[in-house]
Symmetry: C2
Subunit: 232 residues, 2 copies
């Protein structure tokens, strides 16, 4: 189905260390598809028939309960999602929808599990990816339980700035209501939180954020690599 030399996928960390043969096996039943914005890809509770790899665009992983909905995380290229459900042959715990036009590779879960048993390089990569995802969610939990909404926002802004080489001016890469959902607050509350952070040199106009006094903001936000660093 998918040209086995397809470079964007082959060079993914997850697939880079495997044999050509294993890669071919994995891709034999795979689809590469482009989706328009705001399309539902996955509904939580369904069986995990495919591992998804986001090649282009962005995807919102969200979850609903009792008429409430929250965004658990935003996936950016190039990375996989729903890897754990695929491995465990279990149901999806989150729903997924495209946020913009997105290109996605879908690999049948049974092939992922089969190749995992055959190819040690792939197995190793899967473990590293999973461990990384796990640590990332633990950080999210700590963020939610240890900090107020205002502190979460402040640290989010600092983390964005740091990811952009300490830029003092940058654009929010999410709609504000999306950001509010990711941070675990209402859009109204986010709006007020931005105002409250003016006291620490934060100004927002539309998408554009300016951090005029990062030192002061850090004094308030108290960032730590054990919560805010996306790498380690």
């Amino acid at each position: 189905m998918l040209d086995s030399t397809f470079p964007e996928v082959r060079s993914l960390d997850l697939f880079a260390d495997m044999s050509d043969e294993s890669y071919a096996k994995l891709m034999r039943g795979a689809y590469l598809q482009t989706f328009p914005p705001h399309v539902d890809l996955i509904t939580e509770g369904e069986e995990a028939d495919f591992l998804h790899v986001l090649v282009l665009g962005s995807v919102d992983l969200f979850s609903s309960w009792n008429n409430r909905e929250t965004s658990v995380s935003i996936v950016k290229p190039v990375s996989t999602f729903i890897l754990a459900a695929t491995i465990r042959d279990a149901r999806y715990l989150m729903s997924a929808r495209t946020m913009e036009k997105s290109r996605i590779v879908m690999i049948p879960s049974q092939d992922v599990r089969a190749v995992f048993d055959l190819d040690a390089g792939f197995a190793r990569a899967v473990v590293v990816e999973l461990a990384s995802c796990y640590r990332s969610v633990i950080k999210t939990t700590k963020n939610l339980k240890l900090r107020t909404a205002l502190e979460r926002l402040a640290n989010y802004l600092l983390s964005r700035s740091k990811g952009l080489n300490g830029a003092q001016n940058f654009s929010l890469d999410l709609e504000k209501r999306q950001l509010a959902s990711v941070l675990g607050m209402t859009p109204e509350n986010l709006s007020r939180a931005f105002k409250a952070l003016q006291a620490y040199g934060v100004t927002v106009s539309g998408e554009n954020v300016e951090l005029s006094d990062i030192t002061e903001l850090e004094k308030f936000a108290k960032p730590t690599t054990l919560i805010d660093d996306n790498q380690t």
Copy 2:
């Protein structure tokens, strides 16, 4: 260091499917140690030199920030903790302390990584374990973001009851302040939450809980396997 036939460890899911040779290699540098209650085992931020396997007792995985502290999860035998940090050769994201007298196997992280590369059965088990941990934290996140403290408590009680074959009477297996921390609330708030659940047939006296009307409690709590089931 550790008798390689040590049965409590060898029969763990994580080690059951590996060759005797690999197991011996893994255990060569391992320690089996018994700790008294309330002993610090790990401090977050340190390097993950050992994979820990809890054989007996119970361990609190907690985290601190800015003078606040929260319990991320309680580990019961037999299971591992800090697997992800070991795999990634990274720093611990959580601290750990014994809650009661506990027996723990400590395996050097480098041996875990080495054997992972050599033994496919072990690799497979590591992935399954990690995927399971990942899904468990995702559920925690959903629980925190989608529910109020009262709803979390109600679902916790239902989940405990379900785990005991639907028992209507059971004992809390945690101190209340521990439970409060796990559920993301203060002890005072927990105390009031128990009172509020009286309206749904919940009575508590000391450690003992009675759920006199599980149907009514479920109508309030709205449990779902996608958050409350520990297995899937």
